[in-house]
Structures are given as structure tokens and as C-alpha cells.
């Protein structure tokens, strides 16, 4: 197998000084937004997209990927030290991590999170290297009907994995799909839903939508109840783990890596689900389940490994099929397109340096993260004391400047305000924004493949069930929805997610 040669090529790209620098910048920024409240990787990547335009494709994507998995690390720091998950996927880490910190074991908790994440990240990167190429080859034989079914599957699975009302998630997806239709029709050039604005002919700006619903809406949400954050642990000592700790975390880390790698591939927040799944698995098989919730180190090791593994493997559908598994991956699609590359199965053959470079950079990024997070933990603890009221004006400004700088178009800035308020109202009404963004990105693709498939079949919709791959994909989509609405599974879902609230 020439995987070694490919990885060699990848490392030659990733070890380029410029790329190492941007990889470092990415994981640094990622850790930063993971630590800071009120801004997540989605909004950050959206705001930084325009800046990456001037970089080479590999450099840009290496940096953006770094922000994403860096945020998973940073999120666990806040979860452990102040019991507030910086990222939704570290919500579980807060349960036992914070208890450990209260007992003066913040150091071992942070070390466990970092080591577990590092191990999981390395393994998942290897998995990505092994499984992406064959998947991409298989995807090359996909025609329009298969792609249509694949997108439907992706959208529907993301609902099954989201928490809250399934009907609302469905509605958010459809709304996203419709928003994706704004602009000129691909076949006839007819402008749709533009109200005569020339600026809308090329569609709503993706960055504006993402920054609006994930950045501005989140700020408004945080302004509802302004709380001051209590930083309990101001100095972290004793970062090393005892032999006993090591013995206790090996199992959870291994299992967490497995669970995370598997669930990460699924669309729609696999990384969040995987940390919950890992936590409940550890609790169930532990000999001391009563310790969970009171500072069990297993409760930090498992979920942290799981969410980091999932963060890496969620790149698989993106790099092989061009289908984003969740909003951050949707932004990566945007980054590819900005660079003039269509993400999909062709990337691996047409741009091998880019493809393998991104994969190799993830491993380097994971090394950098361990260095950044353990010795420099004092710095992050200091950052935790920055009050939110000083932070969000900066976020609002960066959002405006970032959106404006893409096309020097003030229309994009107004769109941020519009989607900010729409997003905020919907979030207040318990509708999650992630499915909307996913629908928005996939809308044009869905329409294109549907129309193409119908032309191939001369208007016969049975084409989707008579082609075997397409039929299987649609069957899986149906299964996902049926499972999600089954009463017993519904209760399980509620149980799994209840700990988040």
C-alpha cells in the first residue's frame, strides 16, 4: 500500500515552516475561542474565512482545521476549571472534571484531558488516512441520484442526533434549504427571492448567515442573563498523573477513542453525542459508578478522548464525499470553494498534497496542542478571567469587519444583523441553529442533484429506489428517522442529553 508514501507527502507539506506557523496559529486561536465564552469555532471560522482567502489552499485549510480541533481542547479547560463548558462537546467533561478541580485535582484532570485527546486525535488521524482513500474511490462511482440520497441521509441523520424536538429540527433544515435557494437559478439563471437586489443574485452570503446565527444570536442570548464567571482555581499545580491515575484512564481513553471515531463520521454533532455516549458507557462498566459525578477521572478521560477522536473523523465525509457532517464542516466546504476547489472524491487525486497535508497537519496540530495546553495552562487560566462584557463588543466588531472584507459589500453586513435577530428568535423558541446552516449549505447541492437525476430518469422518481446504492442510502435515512421518533429511543435521547442542561 502506498499509504506511507502518501503520508510522507502529507508531512512534507505539513512540515513546511509556513504551514506549521498557520497550524500553530489555528490551534492557538482554537484554544482561545474554546476557552473564551460566547464564541465558538463555528463563528470564529466564519469570521476568519475571508482572511484565509489570501493564503494558499493547503495553508488556509490547515489553519481552519486547527481552529476546530483546537477548540475541543480549549473547551475542556473551561469545563474543568469553571464548570462552564466552552464547547457543547465538553459539557460532560464539566461533570467530573469540575469536581476533580474542587478537590484540588485540577492538574491531573487537565493532564488527563490533554493526554486522552492527544492519543485519540492521533489514532483518529490514522483512521482518516486509512479509510478516506477507499471511500473516495467508492464515491467516484456516485451519480446524481446517489448524491441526492446521500444528502438526504446526511440531513436526516443530523436530526436524529440533534436534541430537542424532531419536528423543529426538520423545519429548521427546510428553512435552511429554502434560504439556500436565494439567488440565480443554476439552470435558467432566473433570479429567485432577490427582491430585485443585485447583491442577492449570487445568493445569500454564507459567512453572513453563519456569523449571524452562531455569533450574533449567541451574543444576544448571553445578554439575557449576564453572569460573572467565578474562576475558582487560579493556579494549577501538579500536572503529572500518578501511576494509579494512568492505570485508571487507559481503558476509558481506548474506549472513548473507539466510540468517538465511529460516531464522528455521522452527520450532525457526532462529537457532542460521542462524549455523552462515552460517559454513559464508562459509568455503566465502572466498578465504582458511585464515584461518577464526584470527580471520577474516568469521566474526564473517556469523553475527552471521544470528542477529540470524533473531531478528526468528522473530516472523513467532507474529504471523501464533499458532504459536511456539521456546521463547522459546512464552513470548511465554504473554505474549499473560496479557494476554487470543489470538495469531494476528486480532491484526493487532483490535490494529493492538499489532502494528505491536511491529514498530516492534524497530527502536528495535536502535538502543538499538548504543548500549548499543559505547560501554558497558567496563561489560559488568566484568560478565563476576562469578563464577557469586554469580549463581545470585540466579537461584534470582528464579525462586521470580517463580513465586509469578503466582497467589500455592505449588504453582507446587514445580512449579519438580519440573521442575528432571526437566529436569536428561533433559538429562544427552542429551535437549534445547526440544522439550518447545514440545510443552507446543502440546499443548492440537493436541488442540483435532484434536477439532474430527474433529467436522467426522464421524470421518473423511482430512480432513487431502483439504483441500489441510492436505495440503501434512502433506506438508512428512513431508518434514522424512524428510530429517532420511536418512543423508547426518544426517552433514551432525552436521558442522554438531559445532563447537558
Amino acid at each position: 500500500m502506498d499509504i506511507l508514501a502518501s503520508l510522507g507527502l502529507g508531512f512534507s507539506v505539513a512540515l513546511d515552516p509556513v504551514n506549521i506557523f498557520y497550524c500553530f496559529l489555528g490551534v492557538l486561536l482554537g484554544t482561545l475561542v474554546g476557552v473564551l465564552p460566547g464564541i465558538g469555532p463555528t463563528a470564529t471560522i466564519a469570521m476568519l474565512l475571508p482572511i484565509t482567502f489570501s493564503l494558499s489552499p493547503a495553508t488556509a485549510l490547515i489553519m481552519l482545521a486547527g481552529i476546530y480541533y483546537g477548540a475541543q481542547y480549549g473547551g475542556s479547560t473551561t469545563a474543568i476549571l469553571i464548570n462552564l463548558p466552552g464547547e457543547s462537546s465538553s459539557a460532560v467533561t464539566a461533570i467530573d472534571g469540575y469536581q476533580m478541580a474542587k478537590k484540588g485535582r485540577a492538574g491531573p484532570a487537565l493532564a488527563t484531558a490533554a493526554l486522552g485527546s492527544f492519543f485519540a486525535g492521533s489514532v483518529a488521524t490514522l483512521l482518516l488516512a486509512f479509510f478516506a482513500p477507499p471511500l473516495a474511490r467508492a464515491a467516484l462511482s456516485f451519480g446524481a441520484p446517489e448524491y441526492f440520497s446521500l444528502i438526504v441521509l446526511g440531513l436526516l441523520v443530523s436530526i436524529a442526533l440533534a436534541h430537542g424536538s424532531i419536528l423543529k429540527a426538520l423545519a429548521m433544515i427546510v428553512l435552511g434549504l429554502l434560504l439556500g435557494m436565494v439567488g440565480q437559478d443554476i439552470y435558467t439563471g432566473q433570479p429567485r427571492f432577490t427582491f430585485g437586489f443585485r447583491e442577492l443574485f449570487s445568493g445569500l452570503n454564507f459567512v453572513s448567515v453563519a456569523v449571524g446565527v452562531f455569533g450574533v444570536a449567541e451574543i444576544l442570548r448571553n445578554l439575557e442573563n449576564e453572569k460573572t464567571r467565578e474562576v475558582m482555581v487560579r493556579t494549577v499545580k501538579n500536572l503529572w498523573l500518578s501511576k494509579e491515575d494512568f492505570r485508571r484512564i487507559i481503558g476509558p481513553v481506548l474506549r472513548g477513542t473507539g466510540i468517538g471515531s465511529l460516531l464522528g463520521v455521522l452527520p450532525g454533532g457526532g462529537h457532542i453525542l460521542s462524549s455523552f455516549a462515552s460517559y454513559s458507557a464508562e459509568k455503566r462498566i465502572s466498578k465504582h459508578p458511585e464515584e461518577f459525578g464526584h470527580g471520577a477521572i474516568e469521566g474526564v478521560a473517556g469523553p475527552e478522548s471521544a470528542n477529540n477522536a470524533a473531531a478528526q473523523t468528522s473530516f472523513i465525509p467532507l474529504l471523501t464525499l464533499g458532504i459536511p457532517a456539521h456546521p463547522v464542516m459546512a464552513l470548511m466546504v465554504g473554505a474549499f470553494i473560496l479557494q476554487g476547489i470543489t470538495p469531494g472524491p476528486n480532491v484526493i487525486n487532483d490535490q494529493p498534497a492538499l489532502f494528505w497535508g491536511i491529514i498530516a497537519s492534524m497530527w502536528i496540530g495535536n502535538v502543538l496542542l499538548v504543548v500549548l495546553n499543559l505547560p501554558l495552562i497558567g496563561l489560559w487560566v488568566k484568560l478565563l478571567t476576562i469578563p464577557y462584557r469586554a469580549l463581545f463588543p470585540a466579537i461584534v466588531l470582528f464579525a462586521c469587519i470580517g463580513c465586509f472584507s469578503i466582497n467589500q459589500n455592505v449588504f453582507d453586513v446587514y445580512a449579519v444583523a438580519f440573521f442575528g435577530i432571526v437566529g436569536y428568535v428561533l433559538i429562544r423558541l427552542d429551535c437549534e441553529p445547526a440544522p439550518l446552516l447545514l440545510g443552507f449549505v446543502l440546499g443548492p447541492l440537493l436541488e442540483e442533484h435532484l434536477r439532474r437525476a430527474m433529467i436522467i430518469s426522464r421524470g421518473d422518481p423511482t430512480i432513487f429506489v431502483t439504483r441500489p446504492i441510492s436505495a440503501v442510502l434512502l433506506g438508512l435515512a428512513l431508518l434514522a428517522v424512524v428510530l429517532a421518533v420511536l418512543p423508547s429511543i426518544r426517552r433514551k435521547r432525552a436521558e442522554v442529553f438531559v445532563e447537558e442542561d
Binding site: K168, A171, V413
Partner: protein
């Protein structure tokens, strides 16, 4: 409460019905086409109708199930100031130029939190203005005038 239903479900259902109806009605202005050769209006009509139907289902689901928890207070001050800041930025960035707009936006943004004093807002704004100018204008070469045409003396 007078109504025996979840206000949240009714409101979200209503929003979805409104969006769905808008897209469906608007798409009637475009060529619908046939299943074989779909026109520009086909997908939006289908999806708009689906969204409206989903909205109705959500609203129906909320009947006789009043909200149990009290919604957090609406941050009117934050909404007006944050959205106002963004619109102000868009409206004046060309005319006033980078530095004045960023400064004013930062002050307004900071004041949308009740915990920020005017002095703190001003200090924050100075810091942010310097930072943004360094990062975006000098560092990244964003081509926008430092001080815009509205503030220059004519003929000077």
C-alpha cells in the same frame, strides 16, 4: 395565562408557516416546470409547502401543552444596540472611514451590556480601534480609507 397552549410552539410554528408561505407564494412567479424538467420554481414551491406544513404541525403539537418554564427576560437594550451597531457599521463604513466607524461601533457595542460604564466602553473602544486597525488595515491590507470622505474638508 389566557391560552391553553405553548406560546413557544405556537410562535415557532407561526414563524415557519410565514417563511414557508412566503417562499411558496413567491415561487409561483417562477416557472414551475415538470418533474422531468424542473423549473426554477419547483423546489422552492415544494419546500415552502413542506415548511408551512411542518409549522402547522409544530403549532398543533403545542396545543394544550402550556410552557412550564418561564422564558428569560428579553435583552431589549442588547438587541437594539448590537443590531444597531452592525447596521451603523454597514451604513457608514464607506462614508466615515475605518477608524471613526470602528471606534463608535465599539462604544455602542460595549454599552449594550448594562455592566459596562461609559468610561470602560471608551477605553475598550480605543484598544479595539488600535487592534483592528493593526490587524485588518495594516496587517491584512483591507482597502478602506482610514478616515472617510464625509469627514474630509472639501477642497482641502
Amino acid at each position: 395565562m389566557a391560552i391553553n397552549a405553548s406560546r413557544r410552539e405556537l410562535a415557532s410554528g407561526g414563524i415557519f408557516v410565514a417563511f414557508g408561505a412566503f417562499f411558496a407564494l413567491e415561487s409561483l412567479n417562477y416557472e414551475i416546470g415538470t418533474a422531468f424538467r424542473m423549473g426554477p420554481g419547483f423546489m422552492p414551491l415544494l419546500l415552502g409547502a413542506a415548511l408551512a406544513a411542518l409549522g402547522l404541525a409544530i403549532a398543533a403539537n403545542g396545543l394544550r401543552k402550556p410552557d412550564t418554564d418561564v422564558a428569560p427576560p428579553i435583552p431589549w437594550r442588547g438587541i437594539v444596540l448590537v443590531l444597531g451597531t452592525i447596521i451603523f457599521f454597514g451604513a457608514t463604513i464607506r462614508g466615515l472611514g475605518f477608524i471613526p466607524v470602528v471606534f463608535v461601533s465599539a462604544v455602542a457595542g460595549a454599552l449594550s451590556s448594562r455592566h459596562n460604564s461609559p468610561l470602560f466602553a471608551a477605553m475598550l473602544a480605543v484598544t479595539l480601534t488600535v487592534m483592528c486597525t493593526l490587524i485588518f488595515v495594516i496587517g491584512l491590507g483591507l482597502t478602506v480609507p482610514w478616515v472617510g470622505t464625509w469627514l474630509r474638508f472639501q477642497g482641502a
